[in-house]
Amino acid sequence: MGLRSYVITRILLTIPTLLLLLSMVFLVMRVLPGDPVELHFEKKATPEQMERMRHLLGLDKPLWIQYIDYLGGLVDIRYLLEHGYPNLGKSMQTFEEVGGQIFSAFPATLELATYSMIIASIIGILLGVVSSESYNSVLDHVIRGFGTVTYAIPVFFLGIIFQLVFGVYLHWLPTGLRLNPVIEPPASITGLYTIDSLLEGNIIKFFESSKALLLPCLTLGIILSGMFIRMTRTNMLETLRLDFIAAARARGLKETTVTYSYALRNAFLPVLTMMGLQFAILLGGAILTETTFSWPGLGRYIVQRINFRDYTAIQGAVVVFGLFVTLVSLVVDILYAYFDPRIRL
């Protein structure tokens, strides 16, 4: 199979995956107790008023028609082009467009996820390599210990410790939120404050938004690095035992060249997969980190909507999340196939 056929097959396979996910979420949300219309009318409403609201929300239609309406909305290209986001229906509580809500929360999550992944990758891969290089030494044990501790430690715990140390005691960094409130957020171009402030040429805003990002990203980055340290180390140890490494050494190549150019390149593929999937999960919202740092991202949005039985909002969030995971998996698979032709066979 050529690379193009492989890519096409993989893309086509994502459609039933997403459809299955969507159907499951659609059904599960509707069998849970709690009527969204009842919930919307907090105090009282006559049965007629409730019925009218059900009609407005399309909840009076048979389930299968609701399902088809929902799918129809999702593939409405005209809506997508007009609004810049897919038609995921209207929130059952606020009556705002779910697509709009999700994509307004997304930049905060994307910014958090991206910088956290950068920190996690740098710490994880570097320490993993160093650990494998100094196999069974004190340094190796220390790094492994660090990896295990960071992997095991809850994100909210480390977050609170950081908030206490850098926020409450040292007053160096803010304890939460995206920007100092007296500073006007930069004009939204990408939605990422660090990038937008640079595009605006405002170094103060860049500095302030970086300050706000530092603690949550450092927390999440350190927590995630544990996993990367262990994966990199294990894969590096296996790779370093292979013949081509011995051959490279025998040719008198420098140890750093052997480690980074030969071994790491080969040991990196499984780590890349993990990074991809982890990044996709983070894009769905790092719920605990977002809660600890009051970060207004997708994670907090989903928790909030679940509490209100906001069917359409939860469906929308899960679909978008599913889409991220599927897309990232697709990209990782394609990268794999590109780098390792055996996969296409």
Binding site: D35, G167, T291, Q304
Partner: protein, 599 residues
């Protein structure tokens, strides 16, 4: 001849020698002179070079001195600028109050729709009402003139006239008058059908207000459908905010974030206007209130602080950290009881305490066994231990409640004290009459809300269960549901006993007493006598009579126990020590226009 010739030759020779010597000497002198000249020239050049070098050196030194001077000047200027910036920052801090909260506006800020604490809080600070409750009021019944300067009611309290303040303008230049009052109430009523979840629907404006009449340019009359003495409470609440018709059309409800009306100062006539309202995923991330330059009440230099910025935190612990770190000037709603007690010992913050109006109560499903029998309900009520809950769960920041009307308010009694707390003798005897004993215990499910809608619900439930089972004749199974399911269960009437809560719309016993039989609580309890007493109390302002009537209602309530009061909460706020002007009174209103940061 020979002698002469010889002499001549000698003389010539001498002449030749002398002239040669002279010439040689002259040539040597000339040569030396030339060398000397050359040396002098070199010397001159060297001197010139040296002079030039010295001059350059002087220039460089001068330049260096100049640069140093300029550097010093720059440094001094920078220091001055820094001091200036510090001053500006200090001034900016004083002009801006940063408030941290875990609240969020639920849906909109349209007075015809908003019916949540924080939405009402923002509305109160941007929108004017005819009257308001005096800050610091202990009873909630001291009304101050706002957009109305005076008022009077008919003898039967079914016709209310208000004389309006003159010279008040909306920011678009529209002058406020009686037509705006009529429009605002007509609109609230007209939208009830479309917004049954809104405050005017909840407060039944349509059933209460028959018509609103414009008697004169600055006089308005409310014709009520029935006698209603607490009407000032109604007109002081946020559902009665006066709106600008241009920005609040009668056929349209809204005022959502992003709505152009939401960021315009012209919709209301309150002390502030909403300059920023950003939401992400249906939750506030940024709210900014700026001083309304058209605000009518400038006598007290209100609002005291030019700008109020709200920051939204995800939970009590993050809010606490933010106020401790100095990220915010004030934390209001909700820092947990444990944290607030802990913060009392922290000198870098100030804790403010106040009366609470939020209550919780136990409801019984009276339409079926076992709670269709008042004896059984009384038996369970007698076994409750309110003090244990207030001590252990709320760390004494809540008080046991023995009447549905909180203490401090007109009509509060201690009627449920008759049943006692952990009064197991009474529980056992009442249950024995109903056929229950140690071998045949009364068993039921006690429900509580589990998604944080009410404070510490699970902890409360555990303490209630322990106290009830300590009677030896009751066995309780705890059940919980998140807020969505809980309300559904309430409406489906599947819960035997459930803990519920109430936060008043207006501070008056009228807004509490009806909870004993409120249909939306679904206890299926009705009592014509209590309801008649309630109507009677609504028709008089005679406080002694009202007190008597509410006492009679309470007496029946303690006998019937359809709803059993549990506790009333206290209120608290945590601020920077330099913050002043907070009134935490029974209304639970946060009047931001009175708050300021001092030295």
């Amino acid at each position: 001849m020979e002698k002469i010739e010889l002499t001549i030759i000698v003389l010539v020779l001498i002449g030749i020698i002398v002239s040669s010597s002279t010439m040689y000497y002259t040539a040597t002198v000339v040569g030396n002179l030339s060398t000397l000249t050359s040396d002098v020239t070199t010397l001159t050049e060297s001197v010139a070079n040296l002079t030039s070098t010295l001059r350059d050196l002087t220039t460089i030194t001068g330049l260096m001195a100049e640069t140093l001077g300029q550097y010093n000047e720059t440094l001094a200027a920078l220091q001055d600028r820094l001091t200036e910036i510090e001053k500006m920052l200090a001034a900016k801090t004083k002009e801006t109050l940063i408030v941290g909260t875990t609240d969020s506006v639920e849906k909109t800020l349209d007075p015809a729709q908003a019916y949540d604490y924080f939405g009402w809080c923002i509305l109160q600070n941007i929108a004017g009402t005819l009257v308001s409750v005096k800050p610091g009021s202990e009873t909630g019944a001291d009304f101050l003139p706002e957009l109305a300067v005076s008022w009077n009611a008919s003898e039967d309290f079914d016709v209310w006239d208000f004389n309006l303040r003159q010279g008040v303008t909306f920011a678009d230049g529209t002058e406020f008058n009686a037509t705006h009052v009529k429009y605002s109430f007509d609109r609230a009523i007209a939208l009830i059908d479309d917004i049954p979840e809104g405050a005017p629907a909840g407060l039944e404006y349509d059933k209460l207000i028959n018509s609103t009449e414009v008697l004169a340019n600055y006089t308005v009359r409310f014709n009520l459908n029935h006698a209603f003495s607490p009407f000032l409470g109604i007109v002081s609440c946020r559902a009665s905010a006066i709106v600008n018709p241009t920005y609040a059309p009668i056929e349209e409800v809204g005022y959502h974030a992003g709505d152009s009306r939401a960021s315009t100062p012209v919709a209301f006539v309150g002390p502030y206007y909403l300059t920023t309202w950003a939401r992400v995923g249906g939750r506030d991330i940024e709210i900014r209130l700026d001083k309304n330059p058209y605000y009518w009440n400038t006598t007290g230099e209100y609002p005291k602080t030019k700008t109020i910025i709200f920051r939204f935190y995800s939970g009590p612990s993050t809010l606490r950290l933010a106020v401790e770190a100095g990220d915010i000037d004030m934390a209001f709603r909700h820092i947990s009881p444990t944290d607030v007690l802990d913060l009392e010992d922290n000198p870098s913050v100030k804790v403010w305490w106040g009366a609470g109006a939020f209550i919780q109560y136990l409801c019984f499903q009276t339409k079926r066994a076992p709670f269709d029998d008042p004896k059984v309900r009384r038996a369970v009520a007698a076994a409750l231990d309110r003090s244990a809950v207030c001590d252990t769960v709320f760390l004494n920041l809540s008080q046991p409640l023995y009447s549905i009307i909180p203490p401090g308010m007109l009509g509060h009694t201690e009627e449920f004290q008759k049943l006692g707390d952990a009064n197991y003798a009474l529980t056992q005897s009442l249950l024995a009459e109903a056929g229950y004993d140690e071998s045949n215990k009364l068993t039921f499910e006690l429900w509580y809300e589990s998604s944080g809608h009410y404070p510490s619900s699970a902890d409360q439930a555990i303490v209630y269960k322990a106290a009830l089972e300590a009677s030896g004749v009751i066995a309780v199974t705890l059940k919980s549901a998140d807020w969505a399911s809980y309300k559904q269960n309430r409406d489906d009437e599947i819960m035997d006993a459930y803990v519920y809560g109430w936060y008043p719309d207006y501070v008056d016993p009228d807004d509490y007493v009806f909870l004993y039989w409120a249909s939306w609580i679904h206890t299926n309890y009705h009592n014509a006598t209590q309801e008649a007493l309630y109507d009677q109390a609504r028709a008089t302002t005679n406080t002694t009579l009202r007190e008597e009537l509410y006492a009679q209602i309470d007496e029946i309530a303690a006998e019937q126990c359809s709803v059993v009061p549990l506790y009333v909460s206290s209120a608290w706020a945590v601020t920077d020590p330099r913050v002043y002007g907070i009134y935490l009174d029974i209304t639970q209103d946060m009047r931001y226009w009175l708050i300021y940061i001092g030295e």
